[in-house]
Symmetry: C2
Subunit: 291 residues, 2 copies
Amino acid sequence: MQYDPVGRFRRFARAVTMEVGALDTSFLGRGRPLGAARVLNAIGMGRTDVAEIREYLGLDSGLMSRLLRSLEEEGLVRTTPHPGDGRRRVAIFTEAGQREFQAYEELSNARASALLDRFPRSDELLHAMDVVASALGRDRIAIQEADPGDDAARYCLGEYYAELRRRFEKGFDVALSRDPDAVDMVRPRGVFLLAMSDGLPVGCVGLKGTGGEVAEIKRLWICPTARGFGVARRLMHAAETVARELSVKTLRLDTNSALTEALKLYRTSGWIEIDRFNEDPYPDHFFEKHL
Amino acid sequence: MQYDPVGRFRRFARAVTMEVGALDTSFLGRGRPLGAARVLNAIGMGRTDVAEIREYLGLDSGLMSRLLRSLEEEGLVRTTPHPGDGRRRVAIFTEAGQREFQAYEELSNARASALLDRFPRSDELLHAMDVVASALGRDRIAIQEADPGDDAARYCLGEYYAELRRRFEKGFDVALSRDPDAVDMVRPRGVFLLAMSDGLPVGCVGLKGTGGEVAEIKRLWICPTARGFGVARRLMHAAETVARELSVKTLRLDTNSALTEALKLYRTSGWIEIDRFNEDPYPDHFFEKHL
DNA sequence: GAATTTATCTGACCTAGGTCAGATAATATG
DNA sequence: CATATTATCTGACCTAGGTCAGATAAATTC
């Protein structure tokens, strides 16, 4: 039974603006107005180009200029001309700025931690927060290349194997499967792609190359909270683009009929079902696509 | 596997301040500063006492005064002296004010609706929002009396029956159970209590009286998203308080061993297990408490 | 009944945030 | 090369939000 969806959504909005708003305005508390703190934070997040910060924070150029100046006067930031374009400027932290940013980070982490500690069933709460954040941030999910050995990549692979164990009737043991060597999923042989939603990995796919004209798609996984937003399609598309760059002419993949969403995706995006091409015990469907 | 809880929480905070912040500042859009709109909204939510609004919005008395004045000048609000206390003032809507508040409500509803419509699996999203809102709003859950025929009460009872169907081995059919007459759960014979979390009912309990010195506790239910916050204990405590007001000396209840949390609650709050006192097919445990 | 407390109002003042119209210099376009 | 366009900066100006010190009047306490 649905008890007034709009009312429930608005209750949610009220609850978070009360609690989380406090987390946002907590940028106060170090004797600096919110605007300056936000710029400091944007720089800390790796945005150095002034125009980029300005666009990200939605600021007027005049205001932006003044905020940067105040941070410079505090000795937290230095601005230098952009190497390739003399009109632009880039902002970088001084050592004091780096320390100040770290102080904000620790303050934010401590608050978040304290808030989480207050709740029983915090894993359920975190899962709910993931669902909400993935939904609200669906338009900001970005595809990026990663090393298959990175923490984020290993996290995705771990979740992927866990899901196979749950969904395959006989379970899943990665040792029995043909586990591709990591080097086959690193350029120039292949690539490993992650879908990142504001810092959280929510999907992955591997392109396992051989150095020749045939390569294989492996390990396509989307976090349950990020399904339905077209992330799989974007990951596959990005993998195909890399394959073309690496002069691959034919892509192959195998999958299991328990993975119904994946099967549907392959069938609606130009893949053609072919005969079994390996002796892996888990797959029962095989596909091919010419680039 | 937990991928950095604090990071996940902060990702959530960023996502909602982006999306939901827009919903908050949407109080703009009718040519009125946020402060005035928030006061208008507070009045619309039933807060008429000026001091009460001031405290709710956390405003300085000077600012509050000016905001009220501006709403008066717009012809949206009238202030009159408080009937019982000449220092206080109460703010009430004029007809134009009522219309303006309605306009804000419709605007907010439309935005919420549009935002929800963008998502597939919106029931999953709403459930996640309920989990988050219940957790963040746990300190604002209020117990109130209600008529067992109200929408909110019927919603709780419906969820309660659905849960029994799921949890009892043989299912549950309310027609086979001794369904108390509604009048037994209305004063002066008994009472029906709801736990409300910012407008959403998240729990209930019935006190079914006979007019005599013995009464029964029925229909204790807590919404899954609100469990672990002590709501059941508060509901039971409130029901006992009403029972004492109604001169009840002995409380009884029956329950089923599938409802483990309830059993645990009764055993740790002064209830004593007694022999079966009715022929209802579902319960297998019976308790009594002397007030 | 005098002294204190409480709720509201008023005027003076301040800061943060934001807009707008040029100025300046570098780059892109014809 | 002349002419746009772009990124930033500067000064002038404005509004919203908020603080503070009294003023006023009603209620409470002694």
